[in-house]
Symmetry: C2
Subunit: 257 residues, 2 copies
Amino acid sequence: MKQSDIDDILINPDQYLRNVLVDNVIFGYHNKELKVLLQQPIALDKWTVTGGYIKKTESIEEAANRIAYSRTGLKNLFFQQFRAFGNPTRSIDGSKNAKNFTKLSGIEVPDDLWIFDYFVSVGFYTLTEFSMVKIEKGVYEAECQWWPIDDLPALMFDHEHIISEALKALRLHIAHYPIGYELLSEKFTLPEIHSLYETILGKPLDDRNFAKRLMATGIIVKLNETKRIGAHRSPFLYRFDKEKYNEGLENGAALAF
Amino acid sequence: MKQSDIDDILINPDQYLRNVLVDNVIFGYHNKELKVLLQQPIALDKWTVTGGYIKKTESIEEAANRIAYSRTGLKNLFFQQFRAFGNPTRSIDGSKNAKNFTKLSGIEVPDDLWIFDYFVSVGFYTLTEFSMVKIEKGVYEAECQWWPIDDLPALMFDHEHIISEALKALRLHIAHYPIGYELLSEKFTLPEIHSLYETILGKPLDDRNFAKRLMATGIIVKLNETKRIGAHRSPFLYRFDKEKYNEGLENGAALAF
């Protein structure tokens, strides 16, 4: 059986930071749908976001990336930190569940082990194209799958709150920074990028205003090509101006929807 | 001698979370000046923001408030969490300085004590009216004082980076949420609130646009009163509409400067 980080922290506790971990909220977009990646650990009946412990030799950002890869097979995600969560009630559910969990490891652990104390969770979110992802679930997970953000299963600890705070941060972020480069085809129509923004913001956006504001940022360029989507409908295609797009990522490109 | 939280964590290590602490970036505004509160610990030659350890019985928000009060005498501050900082290089400076520091306590501590490991810092910022604050410095601080944000002294660890990230978050925040209620007199002129926004954003704002956008949010109300500031200058006074202001704090009141 493949070793998990739960086993590792029990065997090598001195290699990990105590009382602090990372939780990754992995959002996925595909064709007008926004989902979030959740896992259901074997020993438990509820779902969680994917998270894990931090090694003393790595930064919290490196931990977020290592955990995303080791527990889901996802690589090179652009993680954005949004906030940390920490209060003593986290350990009530946490310690009960952690005890069920550690039983799986087969390692004898005392009831007052420090990993049953309260952990501060540093939350990261990312946004990816979910149709392109091949999920590889972890050793101790019964399931790992995408859930629509408006139809989530029962969640453990404060993970529902963590997801809602991540979504708030993502929505604030896209009012200030460009998105779409890895979420749309290389060439796309205005209705396609319009749907992307509407889906993530969770609200309708006026067509004209949207197009006007987006064009004003300079991050997209109109091509001399159309896409045939019906007998009488051939909207123009657009692509990102990568230089302006990267500038926007660096310095902001306010859309203020 | 009054006991400090450094002493307490050495005497009662089991009462504190390990490897995670809070750092408070306390911004102060007064009459066109933006400052930040820094302390200079007795054993060290550089300055730091004010921070401290988290008790297992309190949330990270409660810790931020307790530390602000115990180390600076500041009460009832509205703290906003902005981000966490964590990487192994934090412990290089950190452990050297922490060792100088623990010598002060007179308590014998081994060289490999866990408090010399790397700590994840959860950053909070707040904004207050600095002319109304009576600072009470901590037991182990040589100095604790306000510094202009564009003229900071030499700072320890990554605290310069922490302050710059806090300022970025504050600036993003005021584009979406109202500020000013505790920073201006009950009645104020448009030039006064205009200066407040310009000072915090660190850039000039067009007079007309500023007034138009601010009035459009409904958070300020024009009074039928003027302020006499010169023989021929009597600008109108304004006050906040507290209900609209609170609504804005809850749901946002986009100014997008």
